[in-house]
């Protein structure tokens, strides 16, 4: 086992240790906020360095997971777990770390900073385990385990107004996890050998036709329960609209990406015939959901719902791109997700600042940005980057994804494009509500601008994004 394989485990352990440290931090009000945030920053930066190290070791031309590491979990029955990494999972992992790093300063404003930060670290650890999982058991364990911190985060620190939204959140995700558990049991029953059941081997299983249908149907339902595809979109739409903390918002909105990632890992290009029928049905439902959510985002006045609808549209586009019968655009999807998550995280942080200030001063939304030039500049920049102007890696990579979608199915491509335009228009509409200065009177109360420190911090992220437009791999050191 070489040193890179140990690094994989370290990527899961480092945030977990951070979680333990944060949880045991001294509970005095004066030091608690700074201590836990410092610990979290340290854990996240450590992981970013480790990921960077992995990036330099990766062979970008090699297909499949690299640095595969196996551990024997139980003797009877023999269950092995395996971990591995490729450029796709690495890009997502890196962007998740950056998202957390961007949102972390907002933990100070929370009522429960210690719980918020420690649970975020626990969720990060689970997410890393999920992204590195190479076999069905570790995949299932982390797929379900990440729900525990997510439930607590939403329940305790998410500032959700109604408990029934948590109930929906629980119902949908629980059903998904139970179905995946049944599928995993069925698959391990069909696998006669004692070797590790790798995710990439699942598509190669020769099963009776009816059972194959059920098993693949189960996999799709379990993973789609995370993606906001109709009728599963409702839990995440409700939670996104209700959660006011940027860390919780971002962590909850990472769950759909885990569904997309799961489908990418489960469905290599040679899926059984029964699964290919299901894939067609999935494409139809996905694209209708996409258009549907984009339209609701356009009419909804809630900024968070607009962000959610924008995220959903892109998430489904990534999903449809990943399900195309080609491996060529997987790297483009990874790059796109990298830029996309960072942009959304910054927008969410800025939106949260606006929301807090609005609540504090009891102000109207119209023209709220007019007296805050730093905030206005960053909000405009990241909105333009989000809607598709050439300011990040999103531009060129989405271009490639769209070109493949168009060549695969013109109507599919067209509907995706319309959804993208509608969701972009809703973001721009929100921007101009915030900048509409017609109702601003001279001498009226204004919101506080963001601090210079935060401005420059987010500005550096903007520059990083612009460099990622030029070359994403250069930024990541590959």
């Amino acid at each position: 086992m070489n040193i890179s394989q140990h690094f994989l485990i370290m990527l899961i352990i480092a945030p977990f240790l951070g979680f333990l440290f944060a949880l045991t931090a001294q509970s005095t009000e004066k030091t608690m906020r700074h201590n836990v945030i410092s610990v979290a920053e340290f854990a996240i930066i450590t992981n970013i360095i480790l990921l960077w190290r992995q990036m330099t070791e990766l062979d970008l031309n090699q297909k499949g997971l690299q640095f595969l590491t196996q551990y024997q979990w139980t003797d009877g029955p023999v269950i092995n777990v395996a971990f591995g990494i490729d450029i796709f999972s690495l890009m997502i992992a890196l962007s998740i770390h950056l998202v957390l790093l961007v949102s972390l300063p907002f933990a100070k404003n929370s009522e429960h900073p210690k719980m918020l930060v420690s649970l975020s670290l626990l969720m990060l650890s689970m997410l890393m385990g999920f992204l590195l999982a190479a076999d069905i058991f570790s995949f299932y364990i982390f797929f379900t385990a990440m729900l525990i911190p997510a439930f607590i985060l939403v329940g305790m620190t998410g500032e959700v107004r109604k408990s029934r939204w948590i109930f929906r959140f629980f119902i949908y995700n629980f059903i998904g996890s139970v179905i995946l558990f049944i599928v995993i049991c069925a698959l391990s029953n069909y696998s006669k050998s004692t070797e590790t059941i790798l995710l990439s081997n699942v598509a190669g299983f020769r099963l009776p036709r009816v059972r194959e249908y059920w098993i693949w149907g189960g996999i799709f339902i379990a993973l789609l329960s995370r993606v906001p595809i109709w009728p599963f979109h409702y839990w995440i739409a409700s939670i996104s609209g209700a959660v006011q903390n940027p860390i919780v918002f971002m962590l909850i909105n990472l769950l759909p990406l885990t569904g997309v990632y799961g489908l990418v890992r489960f469905c290599p290009k040679a899926v059984p015939e029964s699964a290919s029928y299901l894939l067609t049905g999935l494409e139809v439902i996905a694209v209708i959901s996409m258009l549907f959510i984009a339209m609701i985002g356009l009419i909804n006045k809630d900024n968070r719902y607009k962000l959610f609808s924008f995220m959903t549209v892109y998430c489904i586009m990534f999903l449809l791109g990943a399900l195309l019968p080609t491996n060529r655009i997987l790297l483009n999807i990874g790059y796109s997700i990298f830029a996309f998550l960072i942009i959304i995280a910054v927008l969410e942080v800025l939106a949260a600042h606006i929301y807090y200030e609005q609540q504090r001063l009891d102000l109207n939304t119209y023209g709220i940005l007019c007296q805050a030039p730093r905030l206005s500049f960053l909000y405009s920049f990241f909105t333009l980057a989000a809607v598709g102007f050439p300011l990040s890696a999103l531009f060129i990579n989405n271009f490639v994804i769209l070109s493949y979608l168009f060549s695969y199915n013109f109507n599919l491509g067209l509907l995706i494009t319309i959804s993208m335009i509608v969701s972009s228009a809703s973001l721009l509409k929100e921007l101009y509500v915030l900048k509409d200065n017609r109702y601003i009177q001279p001498g009226s109360v204004c919101i506080a601008d963001i601090s210079k420190k935060l401005f420059w911090g987010l500005g550096i992220i903007g520059i990083l994004l612009m460099i990622s437009f030029y070359n994403p791999v250069l930024v990541l050191g590959g």
């Binding site: 483009n332 102007f389 490639v400 070109s403 491509g413 993208m420 335009i421 900048k435 200065n437 070359n471």
Partner: protein, 527 residues
């Protein structure tokens, strides 16, 4: 050479964009003008030497999607870029005396960026380079507009145009697996390829042709310097340049081509008509630009991308800038610059005059009629009506424009006297009086029919469907039906289990029987 100019412009832009001070504005503007003059002379020198050059580098080295950025230059490209450099120089001269513009050096920086991107666009040989330059120019256009309603309109229209162009390029790449324009043009393109249609729509939106002119209307609130940059170095001109770059692909399909020419013709007539009925001078000027751009599109659509056409369009472009600024304010310097511009135009026309114009005749007549009608209206406005616009220099300028246009038509002798007669009749019978009555009509002056139509056709269905779907699917089906059923089912299950777990004898017997049944099944049932 061209890469040096590109980098010089970028450096000048980056150095000056951060200066937001109020002091030394005029001196710095003169300095900016000097930089453009030096670049102009440099490019002109290269143009005279007549060398073709090609500088390129591989931007994306992906196996599946390689993209090269190229700075290819030949005589035609030098000439086209010289036109924009000259325009930028004119704009800097105008800006020195623009008292309403407080951030002159910032505008200079944006001119530098726009010029650099225009150069990248003009030299581009592949769709992705054209697309990126066009989109970047829109971002700088967004920065240029410092009026919120104007910026709002601008960003929505340019988003649509850029998305259309983006999707068109993606479709072309998806179909042909190449982004080199000449290679795509050589392939057989299916007549159902909507990419061509999307390219045309994108360029028409950018140039503000009918029915997309609405986004330019609120820009009348900007200072003249910013308007200059926006109309002549930014989005509208980029629309035309993209059309020109994509022309080899577009010309393969005459069905689409006819439709494009109808839109361009409609823009020309609506532009001419609007000049007459709209009272506000700034809006009249926007419609004059619309006439110019629609004429440019028609030239390209009917007669192709020949060098002659570009010389004519180039001269008219400079003239347009002169008109735009000459009508702005009483300034002797403006008149002087206008004079210089018109002299330059006449020189170009003299060159063009040596070429047979018979092919261009009908189109020229159309354009001349529109321009004469429009300019006649302006002269009436300036000299004969009681309007506050009483500007000698503007009058002089307008007369000179008419002379110049007549000079162009000198090459069409059989029509020259007809045009002149028509013009004199128009002035003599003062038909403009009929239109000036409409100046008092609020309905006409605030008419935004096209923008409203676009809103109802474009955004209306999405808003309507969004609301309906939200109410029916989200609220009625999921919230009230599915989730309520789930919650209800959960409640019923809880009640059943609660009932079963009550400390009653019947429940004890029931559970014992259930345990017995499970045991029996495990012993006998599985055999």
């Amino acid at each position: 050479m061209m890469i040096n100019v590109f980098l010089s412009l970028l450096c000048a832009g980056i150095c000056s964009v951060f200066y937001r001070g109020i002091r030394f504005q005029k001196s710095l503007t003169c300095l900016g003008g000097g930089i453009f003059l030096m670049l102009l002379l440099d490019v002109y020198h290269s143009f005279l030497s007549g060398t073709n050059e090609r500088y390129g580098f591989q931007w994306l080295s992906s196996r599946y999607y390689p993209v090269n950025i190229e700075f290819f230059a030949n005589a035609e490209i030098y000439e086209t870029f010289l036109l924009f450099l000259f325009s930028a120089l004119l704009m800097m001269i105008y800006m020195i005396w623009d008292k309403y513009e407080r951030q002159k050096f910032y505008v200079f920086a944006l001119i530098c960026f726009n010029l650099a991107l225009l150069l990248m666009l003009i030299c581009g040989q592949n769709t992705i380079q054209v697309l990126i330059s066009a989109c970047f120019i829109d971002i700088f256009g967004f920065c240029l507009i410092n009026n919120i309603p104007a910026r709002r309109q601008y960003i929505f229209y340019t988003l649509l145009a850029d998305m259309a162009l983006y999707v068109a390029c993606a479709m072309l790449w998806g179909s042909f697996r190449t982004n080199i324009i000449s290679e795509i043009a050589d392939r057989e393109i299916d007549s159902n390829n909507y990419a061509l249609w999307l390219i045309a729509i994108a360029t028409f939106i950018k140039s503000g042709l009918v029915p997309f002119q609405g986004y330019l209307m609120p820009t009348d609130a900007l200072s003249i310097s910013r308007r200059n940059v926006l109309y002549f170095l930014s989005t509208p001109v980029v629309g035309f340049l993209v059309f020109w770059k994509m022309y080899p692909i577009l010309k393969a399909h005459f069905i689409w081509f006819d439709s494009f020419s109808y839109i361009a013709s409609a823009s020309l007539f609506i532009g001419a008509g609007s000049i007459l009925v709209i009272k506000k001078l700034e809006i009249k000027k926007i419609y004059m630009n619309m006439i110019f751009y629609s004429f440019a599109y028609m030239m390209l659509l009917f007669y192709g991308d020949t060098a002659l056409n570009f010389k004519i369009l180039g001269s008219l472009f400079i003239l347009q800038i002169a008109v735009h600024n000459g009508l702005e304010e009483t300034k002797k310097k403006y008149g002087l610059v206008c004079l210089l511009s018109i002299m330059q135009m006449c020189a170009v026309i003299m060159v063009c005059g040596k070429v047979d114009h018979t092919l261009l005749q009908p189109l020229y007549l159309l354009y001349l009629s529109a321009m004469i009608l429009g300019i006649g209206g302006l002269i009436y406005e300036i000299s004969l009506s009681e309007n506050e616009i009483n500007n000698k220099w503007s009058l002089l300028l307008s007369v000179m424009i008419v002379i110049s246009i007549i000079y162009i038509s000198r090459n069409i002798p059989e029509n020259f006297y007809t045009v002149l007669a028509l013009y004199i009749i128009l002035i003599a019978i003062k038909p403009y009086r009929l239109f000036t009555r409409l100046y008092d009509s609020d309905r006409v002056q605030t008419f935004q029919g096209f923008s409203g139509l676009l809103y109802y056709i474009g955004a209306g269905p999405f808003l309507f469907l969004g609301r309906i779907l939200w109410l029916t699917v989200d609220f009625l089906i999921i919230e009230r039906t599915l989730l309520n059923s789930l919650a209800r089912g959960n409640e019923i299950l809880s009640r059943i289990f609660k009932w079963l777990h009550q400390p009653r004898l019947r429940n004890v017997i029931l559970f014992i029987m259930l345990g017995g049944a499970i045991m029996a099944y495990s012993i006998w049932g599985t055999k």
